[in-house]
């Protein structure tokens, strides 16, 4: 499987939501990382054929997003999806199976299996309107996987899941990642660290990084510092640097921050992680302020 995204752009009046994104994705798990409004959902919707790009092309093994065969290979979990309130979990999965063109008996087996995987077997016959947010999310994940998709696109799949369910979800995605392309977006950085083979970082509609965790983290290697300073100094440093973590201790304040050079004489370098990178790129301190410092 190869998904080719070729100079994809989506423009709404004066706003460019996705700006000339190009990349080629092969089998594996890809995580889309970006702040709210970065263009992740718009890109995912274009990949699913829900939105037509203003320009550019998307192809999955020579199939266009408008092709029935493309949709036949697709599994999608939207960020905010609805449901027919009178449906039970099983009826909902059987309904989506019918739209995915699955044979009834196969659909029943697959739905039962997925309800089991997503820990919804006990509530299979309960109406969806009685479900909690997390249960609805798990049902959404189950419906996306019904047709054993070769291209699985999940927009914020772990939103609303408790830690135990998130671990289960991560393991499920890892098991599924062979012979298919999985693209997911999430704000939960640890999920990405655990399951993604490659990370696509988006900012203001553009793809600013595309690589493995190690490759991406190189950007802030040797830039993460930790120090313990007085409260007044901590306030000054907060104005000057991108702060990743603040912890108030007995007499001092502990800071973890991003800086090209040591922010204080006592500061020590720390190992960079994906969360540092996220905050570095998407903090309130602008590039200009950072560079001008």
């Amino acid at each position: 499987m190869e998904l080719i995204i070729d100079r994809i752009t989506k423009q709404y009046a004066n706003k460019i939501a996705v700006d000339r994104i190009s990349c080629s994705l092969k089998d594996g798990v890809y995580a889309l990382l970006g702040s709210n409004g970065a263009g992740k959902t718009t890109l995912m919707r274009m990949l699913c054929g829900v939105l037509a790009p203003t320009s550019g092309e998307i192809k999955l093994n020579d199939l266009n997003t408008s092709d029935e065969e493309y949709r036949n290979l697709l599994g999608y979990l939207p960020q905010d999806f609805g449901y027919y309130p009178d449906f039970t979990a099983m009826e909902f999965l059987m309904y989506i199976s019918s739209l995915k063109g699955l044979d009834k008996s196969a659909a029943k087996l697959r739905s039962t299996e997925l309800l089991n995987i997503t820990s919804l077997s006990d509530v299979a016959k309960k109406k969806i309107k009685t479900f909690s947010g997390g249960m609805k999310q798990r049902l959404g994940i189950a419906q996306a996987m019904l047709n054993n998709p070769k291209l699985l696109i999940l927009d914020e799949p772990t939103a609303g899941l408790d830690p135990k369910e998130r671990v289960k979800f991560r393991n499920l995605i890892s098991d599924l990642s062979k012979d298919r392309i999985i693209i997911l977006s999430t704000h939960i950085v640890s999920d990405i660290e655990y399951i993604a083979n490659k990370i696509l970082v988006m900012k203001s509609g553009q793809l600013i990084h595309n690589g493995s965790l190690d490759e991406i983290i190189k950007v802030i290697e040797n830039k993460i510092w930790e120090c313990s300073v007085s409260t007044s100094e901590a306030e000054n440093l907060s104005k000057m640097y991108t702060i990743i973590n603040i912890r108030h201790e007995k007499d001092n304040t502990f800071l973890r921050l991003v800086s090209d050079k040591s922010p204080t004489p006592d500061a020590v370098k720390a190992q960079a992680c994906l969360e540092d990178l996220y905050i570095y790129y998407f903090s309130d301190i602008s590039e200009v302020e950072r560079n001008g410092k």
Partner: protein, 245 residues
């Protein structure tokens, strides 16, 4: 038979079943059998709410009972105006079903399945439209037996309010894409229904009041209008209206 069973049991006990190798991989990559379009069409009958068919039947029965209860010897066309006034509600029933995806925020999911939202809407409209068409033809035959009007006049009598409501409802669905769309469609149906009653009361029989030519032109215009609006609606299901919900 018993011998076979015994042999099977003996073989089962003689061999130890080996641990399945790569069972998980096999299950994950298992090709799931698919249905064809005809089977998909049939499968969708189950997913149309039962109450929709029930309401269609109730509206139909109300029309029929009204028609039968009118004394044909002292038949007054004003009373018959009740019938075409009920016809917009046949359309409302279909409109509530096809706007269901919008009402319940299911459009994004239904757009990405093998059979897309456009196909789902066409299939459901075809199923409900067929039921409606049978009911309308049944009403037409009943009217023909009761009234001494030509089939053409009676067809106008039934299909003009029907098509006018179809046009209005589709127009509304093309411009209003939110959870309240059903209320607007109900507004269209009620308006056509009321307009029908008022015009009958004002004119006696509006199909005699103006020339048949006028009504035929209106009928053709409405058919064209409905086709245009329907095409527009189906095309709109091919792209998500990103800030509409």
């Amino acid at each position: 038979m018993n011998k076979d069973k015994k042999l099977k049991l003996e073989i089962k006990s003689a061999y130890e079943i080996p641990e399945s190798n790569r069972k998980k991989d096999f299950l994950i990559n298992l090709e799931i059998p698919k249905i064809n379009f005809y089977e998909f069409f049939i499968s969708q009958i189950k997913y149309i709410r039962k109450r929709i068919f029930f309401i269609q039947l109730v509206v139909m029965l109300i029309c029929l009972i009204t028609l039968l209860s009118i004394d044909s010897t002292s038949l007054n066309i004003k009373y018959i105006s009740i019938l075409p006034s009920a016809i917009p509600f046949f359309v409302l029933i279909i409109a509530t079903e096809i706007s269901r995806s919008i009402s319940y925020n299911m459009t994004e999911l239904e757009m990405t399945t093998k059979y897309s939202l456009g196909q789902i809407i066409i299939v459901r409209t075809a199923i409900l439209g067929s039921v409606n068409f049978i009911f309308l033809i049944f009403l037409l035959i009943s009217l023909k037996l009761k009234l001494e009007y030509s089939t053409l006049i009676l067809s106008l009598y039934i299909f003009i309010p029907f098509l006018l409501t179809c046009f209005g409802s589709l127009y509304v669905m093309n411009y209003i894409r939110n959870k309240n769309v059903n209320f607007y469609c109900a507004g269209v149906s009620i308006s056509v229904s009321l307009a029908n009653i008022l015009l009958y009361n004002a004119t006696g029989n509006m199909y005699n009041y103006l020339s048949v030519k006028f009504w035929l032109i209106l009928l053709v215009a409405l058919i064209v209008g409905v086709i245009i609006q329907a095409k527009k609606f189906i095309r709109s299901t091919e792209e998500y209206n990103w800030n509409s919900l």
